[in-house]
């Protein structure tokens, strides 16, 4: 009886090993391939583009969804609040980069008006996030 129990235990140990191997492989895969970033507040699908370049340097991200709601630092802001926040950032560092993550379905004139406003207050580098089209 004891004998049977032990072989069973050992067999259980042995069948667990391949599973652990697979789990390890999955873990390594997710660690290498995925990128862990800050959680996004809004449901934004950036436009598809073939000419987008890989991001360089640190940028302040502003998310804008389909209906024009803007989120900065996980906080909903209106245009005035955004301008005040960005001016503050520019005062601390005039080279602050702003990255706009706008939804593909957003009215383009709304986005361009915002870009023009940001330029007016002195943003030197403005980028638009796109999804790489294959």
């Amino acid at each position: 009886m004891k004998f049977a129990l032990q072989t069973q235990e050992r067999r259980l140990d042995l069948t667990v090993l391949p599973m652990v191997n697979v789990v390890f492989l999955l873990l390594v895969f997710f660690m290498l391939v995925g990128r862990v970033g800050p959680k996004e507040e809004l449901d934004v699908d950036p436009p598809l583009s073939q000419i987008g370049q890989t991001e360089s340097g640190h940028a302040i991200r502003v998310e804008i969804d389909r209906s024009g709601i803007m989120v900065l630092d996980g906080r909903k802001v209106d245009t005035t609040e955004l301008i005040i926040a960005v001016s503050d950032l520019l005062r601390q560092d005039p080279a602050t980069q702003i990255q706009l993550k706008a939804d593909a379905g957003l009215d383009a004139n709304l986005l361009i008006k915002l870009m023009e406003t940001l330029r007016l207050i002195g943003v030197a580098k403005l980028t638009l996030v796109t999804e790489h089209a294959t």
Binding site: L27, P47, I51, Q53, G105, A124, T127, H132
Partner: protein, 147 residues
């Protein structure tokens, strides 16, 4: 050797082997932690391939091209997808040819993309894509005047 004592011997051997193995590596807590890490990375990581398109702003453009403003061509986009270049309606293919031709002689020529009312960001980015892939190097966006 009786069958009974043989069984006992085997019993003891296995027990010892099992103890030895267990004392070498205790797998269970390790597996637990690996599982937790796996779940964390599965939930937290994103696989979307995000890129960025940079647009020169006047503040940045001044450093890049000096104070003189280069000439620019206006490309308008309509909500139904029709395009016009310098006021003349043109197909996308025609615009690509025109841009390629002009960029051969003057690659500092700027292009201003102006969306009409109701044009989505995707449509504008498509046009920027078209211009840049045809050879335009200096593409900016401008909003509809008077709206």
């Amino acid at each position: 050797m009786s069958l009974h004592s043989y069984g006992q011997l085997k019993d003891r051997e296995i027990e010892e082997a099992a103890r030895k193995r267990r004392s070498l590596v205790i797998l269970t807590p390790l597996v637990d932690i690996v599982f937790i890490l796996l779940i964390f990375f599965m939930l937290a990581s994103s696989f979307s391939d995000h890129r960025v398109i940079g647009f020169l702003t006047p503040a940045g453009a001044k450093q890049a091209i000096g104070s003189e403003q280069p000439s620019a061509v206006l490309v308008r986009v309509d909500a139904d997808g029709s395009l016009d270049m310098s006021g003349q309606p043109m197909s996308a293919v025609r615009i690509a040819q025109e841009v390629a031709r002009r960029s051969l002689s003057d690659d500092t020529l700027g292009y201003l993309v102006q969306p009409n009312r109701g044009v989505s960001v995707q449509q504008v980015i498509d046009v920027v894509d078209l211009l840049k892939s045809s050879g335009a190097r200096n593409v900016s966006l401008t909003s509809r005047s008077g709206s």
